[in-house]
Symmetry: C2
Subunit: 240 residues, 2 copies
């Protein structure tokens, strides 16, 4: 609020503006199809000014990725703080990643994740960023689990192992949802992820909205696969 702050915020505001514009364009058109001119237009600036601020196109896009990651991390932290218990926190994590349109989230934000993976696969610097960001994500999960264990909500299991599994599961499910898979939609992904967590951590979880209208096709498939495998449960060795 002081004069000094406002002075720096003049350029920083511009910078933020451009980064936000870049994130939007990447989400809409995709990383490879993002042109400096698009970002400049959306930020009400000239292409030359974008170069003036970020030096190069790669600089801009890398900064945009970092910006988006940071924003996501902060919004997730706030979301966690707003949940009453560990179970609600866990479900929130799943909803953020596996359910379409996380409210105020930018549409097409999934594409940005996929693009980030592709870029991290080849650009070593972005690979580092992704690694620390993934570690943050894992730590977030671990903290929630430890909180739940402390409160007696969850059972005592290997926290790190669970975090790896759960994070991988959510990544895989979110891909399906992002790619509009017919079988694995948001509802199914949520159910699968929470079902896994409930089994592993030892709590009960019931899917919301039992009287859903979209259960017709899915029930048919499940019944078919169940009839293929008759109910007589004869678990072999080490059922535990």
């Amino acid at each position: 609020m002081t004069a000094a702050t406002r002075e720096t915020s003049a350029q920083d505001e511009r910078r933020e503006q451009m980064l936000a514009a870049a994130v939007e364009v990447i989400c809409e058109r995709g990383f490879a199809e993002t042109r400096i001119a698009d970002v400049a237009t959306r930020a009400n600036a000239s292409p030359a000014l974008v170069i003036y601020y970020f030096g190069t196109k790669d600089g801009l896009l890398t900064a945009a990725f970092r910006h988006s990651e940071e924003k996501f991390y902060r919004s997730t932290s706030e979301l966690m703080a707003a949940q009453p218990d560990a179970r609600a926190k866990l479900e929130s994590l799943v909803r953020v990643t596996c359910v379409k349109q996380g409210r105020d989230e930018v549409p097409g934000a999934w594409g940005l994740w996929l693009d980030l993976w592709v870029q991290a696969f080849r650009h070593p610097e972005l690979s580092k960023d992704r690694a620390v960001f993934d570690r943050r994500w894992a730590v977030t999960i671990e903290d929630v689990v430890r909180e739940g264990q402390g409160a007696g909500e969850f059972g005592e299991i290997d926290v790190e192992e669970f975090a790896i599994s759960f994070a991988a599961l959510m990544d895989g499910l979110s891909i399906q949802v992002a790619l509009d898979d017919e079988i694995v939609d948001s509802t199914r992904a949520l159910a699968v992820a929470m079902g896994f967590a409930a089994r592993a951590l030892g709590f009960t979880w019931v899917p919301p909205g039992r009287a859903g209208a979209d259960s017709s096709r899915r029930n048919k498939d499940r019944q078919r696969s169940e009839s293929t495998a008759p109910r007589a449960a004869k678990l072999p060795r080490s059922a535990r």
Copy 2:
């Protein structure tokens, strides 16, 4: 084998040659950085000839994706047929996706998967291809599970649900491995995936090569997290 077959194979060979070259270039440089000149050079042809065969760059790259998917599907089928029992088949599936350098596999094939997701996210036609390919993958898993259930190796659980979970888990783990994550490497990914399957299907699985030389750092991490979560299992309500 007839003359007619050999005549068509003249052009089909060239086509295959170009597709193979395209897949290689995509794996090496990435989808966005693939130029038709690169593909042409690798196939000992001129850029014009590539257009002559595929009409457009998009046509080439789309065909290359399909080609690669098909090849992967066939090689997986053969691999499955060569395994003695369902447990070995399951482990083979995990190894194919989560362990680096699947023998004769093209290096950098993971990048092709990531690129396929990115392209499928925006190009509706490729989205269709990915969907049917993913369905194939799920069916492969389901078949293995049913075989194992029939032979008494696996317990009787919801096959479709398991396939969705297991496929998503492998996708997520393979991303970590592909991106050279420090925590989730090939060994860890294999252990996590097979551990999940073993728990869900009720069989025992022991990680291979206990006295491995590459277990120094990993053991340290695991021990730390284990000491954080002491072994005294006090599962709360509704365990299992």
